[in-house]
Symmetry: C2
């Protein structure tokens, strides 16, 4: 908990409104979209790549071989994912405040999902 | 579960990649930011305003009177929130696919948090 408190308070340093970068990834023609265990491991790898602390991880799969929807709640905010295996599409968003750079999550996600095309939007919050 | 399956599959209709609108809200000089119960009720009200189905609700508070970080996982995607009572700031994102319009979540959030200023970005996914 001390670590979490620190993560929140250190985020206050650079700006009165504690901004962070919010990265939206649209992955097209992607793989592994119905593999809940693989997706959970990838979310953990993405958090680790950013030096983020996972508070909670919640995933739901919509039937066997169906899409997966889930979120990693972080001390530094969150990573969410929603997949549609039937069309090869996944929507991921990564929001981190403080010392963590959410852009560092992109590489492990790209490695796992191996998308044919990726659209990345980076939005400053706060 | 049948309802959830339907929500996912009906989202496939308009577009091969199942797009949805992703709304990012930055709330400045906002109220109620350390009230976890009030925030949970507001996330449920926001989901209800969109006709969305809540699958799971996870919230964490960073110490008494501290910030709240949380997510409502929906059959139609998610609503996330991160608050910083010390600066009056909250970052919310709302992503819904299918028949749900994520913009309808804005009114109940605005009513509860009563921000002095609100910045709304709407991004098409997929």
């Amino acid at each position: 908990m001390a670590e979490i408190e620190q993560a929140k308070s250190s985020a206050a340093a650079p700006h009165p409104y504690l901004p962070g970068l919010h990265v939206l990834l649209d992955l097209f023609d992607a793989r592994g979209l119905a593999d809940q265990a693989g997706i959970e491991a990838t979310l953990r790898a993405a958090a680790r790549a950013c030096g983020a602390t996972v508070l909670d991880m919640r995933l739901h799969q919509f039937g066997q071989d169906g899409g997966v929807t889930g979120v990693a709640l972080l001390a530094e905010s969150h990573i969410s994912i929603h997949t549609w295996p039937e069309t090869g599409f996944a929507a991921v968003d990564i929001f981190m405040c403080g010392a963590c750079d959410s852009r560092l999550a992109v590489a492990p996600l790209r490695d796992y999902f191996a998308p044919g095309r990726i659209d990345i939007k980076t939005i400053a919050r706060g």
